[in-house]
């Protein structure tokens, strides 16, 4: 599995580039939304980070389950690669959001349920990466990281449904897929989601390649 995933980077990279070109074109030609004006175009580069971040964290749990059931290190490396790339996308959610919030709300940040729970999710997986960095190598550390990665996914539904849970007291807009969007805006958003998921797949494959080589070199040294 690992070898196939690493080799997949060759074509996922090309597919991602093509999809990014389509997304950039559709985001450029999408109609300017009447209520928000041009700042609504920030949504095309903010919202597509969400699915790769969640997917990265779910795949961390998949890797953890794979490791705990098979004890094969390739599952553990897969979990690490997915978590790191997931954190990259989650960081981009948190950084691009305020660039829309400032002109839309007049403030960079509000501590509402969606934003706060996203920060908590980010901290959970940054802590996972620290755990991996400082407790690398032993089988017990891998087992603990696997369990941590599995438990961490429990936060995802909470973040996703935070806007509903806040029942109107949050400033954050609802999921765009649940709104009736004009065709041009929906196409730009959907193409962004596809392009960013392909970028995610490419980055995970590359990160997995790094992790496998690190393990190989470590093995030769010991």
């Amino acid at each position: 599995m690992e070898e196939r995933l690493i080799r997949s980077a060759r074509y996922t990279g090309l597919l991602a580039l093509a999809a990014l070109a389509v997304w950039a074109y559709l985001a450029w030609v999408a109609p300017v939304e009447k209520a928000q004006g041009v700042i609504q175009k920030i949504m095309y580069v903010h919202v597509p980070n969400v699915a790769p971040a969640y997917l990265g964290f779910v795949l961390t749990a998949v890797g953890g389950i794979g490791f705990l059931t098979t004890r094969r290190e390739e599952w553990d490396r897969f979990a690490l690669a997915a978590a790191e790339v997931g954190v990259v996308f989650c960081s981009l959610i948190l950084l691009s959001g305020p660039l829309w919030a400032k002109p839309a709300w007049g403030v960079w940040w509000v501590w509402d349920l969606r934003l706060t729970s996203t920060v908590v999710l980010w901290f959970i997986y940054v802590a996972y990466l620290f755990l991996r960095a400082f407790a690398a190598g032993s089988d017990s550390a891998r087992s603990f990281s696997s369990i941590y990665g599995i438990v961490g996914t429990l936060a995802i539904p909470f973040v996703y449904f935070a806007v509903d849970l806040a029942s109107g007291s949050t400033l954050h807009p609802t999921d765009p897929s649940r709104q009736g969007l004009p065709a041009g805006i929906a196409a730009a958003l959907r193409s962004g989601m596809i392009a960013f998921l392909l970028v995610f797949a490419w980055l995970v494959a590359r990160r997995l390649g790094v992790a496998r080589l690190e393990a190989l070199i470590e093995e030769r040294r010991s």
């Binding site: 580069v45 691009s96 980055l203 590359r206």
Partner: protein, 46 residues
Amino acid sequence: MEWNGFVFASYVLVLGALAAYALRLRARLRALEREAHDSTPPSAGG
């Protein structure tokens, strides 16, 4: 399209960060490939 600094900054930030991360991974891969090649035992190196 109307110019807006926030829109421009958001695209530069996201695409720039992804490109920077991809380049970092590429550099790390290259360095590890060199290291793996150098550490190959003579009998296995062919």
